[in-house]
Amino acid sequence: MEIEAKYHPLDKYLRADRIPHIWCPGCGLGTALNCFLQALEETEIDLKNLAVVSGIGCAGRVAGYINVDSYHTTHGRAIPFATGLKLANPKLKVVVFSGDGDLFAIGGNHFIHAARRNIDMTVICVNNHNYGMTGGQLGPTTPLKARTTTAPYGNIEHPFNLCHVAAASGAVYVARWTTLHVRRLKESMKEALNKKGFSFVEVIAPCPTAFGRRNREPSGLDTLRYYKEHSVIKHGIDPSEADIEIGGDIIVGKFVDIEKHTFNEAVEELIKKARK
């Protein structure tokens, strides 16, 4: 027999008075948040020094649920905000939690520059292939031919391969998992949190209400079953070979894990030099 409980062990990381959250049944964001909090539990990050920054969209609501200093900024500007936050207060651990549209459409420019500079932050992008909050419009990661409200005849645009963009821009840690690969996702999040430099974790997530419903996956369960059938783990491959297509395989794994001098270290050295 199951035991009825009132509280969850991870509630201490949540603003529990705001649970249940606003996300739909079957949404991948809850799972991503769950893995993230479990990752926090298992690393030794001092919560007092953790700051979570998010943008606009369903993924942007994550910041509001985590009981740390959290910042819900404007659309696409989570990364520059986080850059300022981290540089002004280097002892903070800054995590950006946002969506594919927020980080790569309007925020695309900011993403590639932060990665190029190797700013010490962790970016977790929950990729549900559309703009869910506003009703299911296409986004930069909508697969070719998929249906969205602004692509009623099927999407004609080639999507981004987010891991490729991150790696090409200079990120030092790049990994992709689906919300089905919960344990590996949690491990990757732990690695990303402990990594010095710009680390990126892409979480492929269902969006039954806005995207799945229009693309033959009416429930979150349908999408997860697809992930089960079609995910292929390939650690260490060139991310450019890991495109996502409708009906195709989803290649997941840890693609990039390198060491590089960070912007934050360089700034510190610069200040030391200038003060001599």
Binding site: H72, A105, I106, G108, T134, G135, Q137, L138, T150, P152
Partner: protein, 380 residues
């Protein structure tokens, strides 16, 4: 030839259909509540009429894209709400400076910043006028019903083409999401204005030499080799970024072409104003609540009328100066903390103006306005 049609549209859909009826064949936009339906409808309809729809990566890009499309010869439009409107300001300035005809729909929501995405606001009025930097003028229209969304969007395109200026359609979330009957006139009854083309050969053409304030426009690929720049430029279009005379001449013309033609653009819906001694000034959805309140007040014998602005910018200064002679008090009803009120005050004097603001994301209830009318009368 399309005959008259009766449709049941929301304000957003009516605006999109109005654009198509006006000849809009290019839409670049970005989803934002409460205007996303316009983009979605254009995505479906534009290919059907041979037009192009593209969802850009952000509003900045959307505004830049419609300017480009306009120079490519198309009638172009975008639609957004407050946060997106803020992002578009830089390129609205470029549109004003380069005299590019285009239409920007701003479906206002409660702000500031992310605000209340699903609730109504009318607080972008001043931003529509002053949002970008420098001296310039734009035109802004304000519909109060889906029918007006249809009609005024067509008017917006016509004004844009005639005056070569970005025209803002200042909708609000209530009108955008309201469903009402819309009568679509037969195709030959819809008046369409197109930009004036040069009637001289390229050697004689001066791209920014005005004919009664507005120069004829030669688009890309028509053989005129026009240079278009946001820098201060002379009649040839060449940058003259250090010449005070050129600057004065240019800025003066950009502003005068709108200011001096205010009367032609004036569009005010007067209701029960003939013998009124108190007037309500309103626009958009607030105009409808106000009308109900005026009806009730008239039944009770109060001599109150409604001035509903359909063209907000350029503001009808002359009209207000004149009407101030007969009206003792102006009650400004708007869903913000006082924006049109400032314009009315400027023209009729602060003592004559009372503001009835409401900005929690709700519309005024007619009886609230009626109570204010009574208060004003009894206060006298």
């Amino acid at each position: 030839m399309r005959k008259e049609q009766i449709k049941f549209y929301s304000g957003n859909i009516a605006a999109a259909e109005g654009a198509i009826a006006a000849g809009c064949r290019f839409f670049a936009g970005y989803p934002i509540t409460p205007s996303s339906e316009i983009a979605e409808h254009m995505a479906r309809r534009l290919p059907q009429v041979g037009g192009i729809f593209i969802q850009m990566e952000d509003e900045l890009a959307s505004m830049a894209a419609i300017l480009g499309a306009s120079w490519g010869g198309a009638k172009a439009m975008t639609a957004t709400s407050g946060p997106g409107f803020s992002l578009m300001q830089e390129n609205i300035g470029l549109g004003a400076m380069t005299e590019t005809p285009c239409v920007v729909i701003n479906v206002q929501r409660a702000g500031p910043s992310t605000g209340m995405p699903t609730l109504v606001g009318q607080a972008d009025v001043m931003q529509a006028r002053w949002g970008s930097h420098g001296d310039y003028e734009i035109i802004a229209l304000s519909p109060s019903s889906p029918q007006e969304c249809f009609d005024l969007t067509i008017k917006a395109f016509n004004l844009a083409e005639e005056y070569r200026v970005p025209v803002i359609v200042l909708m609000d979330e209530s009108v955008a999401h309201m469903f009402e009957k819309v009568v679509i006139p037969p195709e030959n009854k819809i008046k369409i204005v197109n930009r004036k083309k040069p009637d001289v050969p390229p050697e004689e053409y001066l791209p920014f030499k005005p004919e009664r304030y507005v120069p004829p426009m030669a688009c890309a690929g028509e053989g005129y080799n026009v240079h278009v720049t946001g820098l201060t430029h002379d009649e040839k279009g060449y940058p003259q970024a250090t010449d005070p005379e050129v600057q004065e001449r240019l800025v003066r013309r950009l502003c005068d072409k709108i200011r001096k033609n205010e009367r032609k653009m004036r569009d005010i819906d007067e209701y029960e104003m003939d013998d009124a001694d108190v007037a309500i000034v309103s626009f958009g959805i607030s105009g409808r609540s106000s009308k109900e309140a005026v009806k009730e007040a008239r039944k009770q014998g109060y001599k109150v009328g409604l001035i509903r602005l359909r063209t907000i910018w350029p503001f009808p200064d002359e009209y207000f100066e004149k009407i101030a002679e007969d009206i003792k008090k102006f009650i400004v009803v708007e869903i913000n903390y006082g924006q049109i009120k400032l314009e009315v005050e400027r023209n009729v004097g602060k003592e004559k103006v009372i503001l009835l603001p409401k900005f929690g994301g709700e519309i005024h209830k007619p009886h609230e306005i009626y109570e204010k009318i009574k208060e004003v009368y009894n206060g006298n």
